[in-house]
Symmetry: C2
Subunit: 99 residues, 2 copies
């Protein structure tokens, strides 16, 4: 298993899907198109499925891509919520390395 799929891949995928373009998704993520393009290629390669479909100037999703979109968004949202929640908990139990 060479490349491991990461939550980053889901994040990029959601951004591209919502922007309906790699260009817009990359801009939204503050990255270059090639960076996003490469990661999406890796994701498709790993899954063995085409997720995107070039339709004129817009990059739309394949049926599989549509199936993927909602769960991907849900997971990334939950993930971010978890991290944010723990950040707030730190007010209570500040990291006391030793006592």
């Amino acid at each position: 298993m060479k490349h491991q799929i990461n939550i980053r891949h889901l994040r990029y995928f959601v951004a591209v899907a919502e922007a309906e373009s790699f260009c817009g998704g990359a801009r939204r993520l503050g990255l270059s198109q090639p960076a996003v393009s490469q990661q999406m290629r890796m994701l498709e390669c790993y899954l063995g499925i085409s997720l995107f479909r070039r339709c004129g100037k817009r990059t739309l999703l394949t049926p599989a891509g549509l199936t993927f979109l909602k769960p991907a968004g849900d997971i990334t949202r939950r993930f971010d919520d978890l991290i944010r929640t723990l950040g707030k908990e730190s007010d209570l139990s500040e990291v006391p390395p030793r006592d």
Copy 2:
């Protein structure tokens, strides 16, 4: 933004928590202890919270760690399910990279 927290961190955390030791968690993950230890340190540092508590020979969770455990396990499980699901969909829409 130096280090980005990843689903890998959640995975390692769950493994260590369930094994109640870094050693056991690392073994279960097929990694070395230092690798896991380093990632857990990064996670704690990023969150600003202590997650583990040395209690005799066992490595247990702090209250914050206990709060973290269930959501972390849930997210990683959902993540894996999503990837696995897409893998099965590939039977229908095989990836035709080039033709």
